[in-house]
Assembly symmetry: C2
Homo-oligomer: 172 residues x 2
């Protein structure tokens, strides 16, 4: 009777779409730094509160969340990225590497993973989910949290990005 | 062979869960204001940049996105809320009203809406989606954007909220 949303569409396709948007937002940050003669490192190191993550780390965690999701749902090894990015081109390259990894996972590896057991280690804790709860209750909120906070940091620094940049193209 | 994620779980259940989390985060903001003898109106009116929305408006748009989603997917009228909230109890009441509306929509009104035509008016533009694209490309990013930015505003103001408050309970 009803098909539901394929896991691939709700995970890989959605994350890939938003990673491209994040890359575009960061490019506006880089352009803003250049136009206003701001050292890009200032934006990369900006944060909303002293014990919050700076911009670079927001991008690292967003991409980690995306590649961890693809790997766990597909049941393959998560690629390790060194967290060494300190420039806009390096952050863009990290996003591109993440998108490449997501593209290497095929729909047939992801679809049907709704009830696959997923174990997530968060600090000292290990949380066991099924694939659907992992995606809806952890991956998507956590991913959008870091993409939004990256946007909010740039916006707070005066970069001219707007809500439509965050939403991306909405036409079919 | 594969069932996919039921639309109700990806929309109503997910939005309701996160609205409760938003309410908890706001309660921490209210408690912080009281403990530190800050006028709550200062937090309610805080924003990350002069032309961004203040905290109250972030909560209004998050709840609008949630109730609009429930109404559009179910094919019922969206309840209109006046945007008059200026206190933490009023914002909490708005969230409660939104959760009540979401609870009034039954799974059988939502499941199967993946391919329902949804027309969204954004300013001068009308965008036509199917239910699945509306949910994945507009509702969830937009909703999490405003919940995250509400969190980021409070965090930026020094309220002791943390990532686990944002993610909520992750145990099954």
């Amino acid at each position: 009777m009803m098909a539901g949303i394929p896991m691939y569409q709700a995970s890989i396709a959605t994350l890939t779409r938003s990673l491209k948007i994040l890359d575009t937002i960061l490019a506006k940050g880089a352009a803003h730094a250049e136009a206003h003669k701001i050292d890009p490192a200032v934006l990369i190191g900006s944060r909303l509160y002293p014990d919050m993550f700076a911009l670079a780390r927001q991008v690292q965690v967003a991409t980690d969340t995306a590649k961890g999701c693809a790997a766990r749902l597909a049941g393959v090894e998560t690629p390790k990225f060194e967290d060494t990015e300190t420039t806009f081109p390096e952050l863009s390259a990290r996003i591109a590497k993440t998108i490449d990894f997501l593209a290497s996972v095929r729909p047939e590896q992801i679809d049907g993973s709704e009830h696959r057991e997923i174990v997530l280690k968060l600090g000292k804790h290990a949380i066991t989910f099924d694939g659907q709860a992992y995606l809806l209750n952890f991956v998507l909120p956590n991913f959008y949290f870091h993409v939004t906070t990256a946007y909010d940091i740039l916006r707070h620094c005066g970069v001219e990005v707007g809500k439509m940049d965050f939403l991306g193209s909405l036409s079919a």
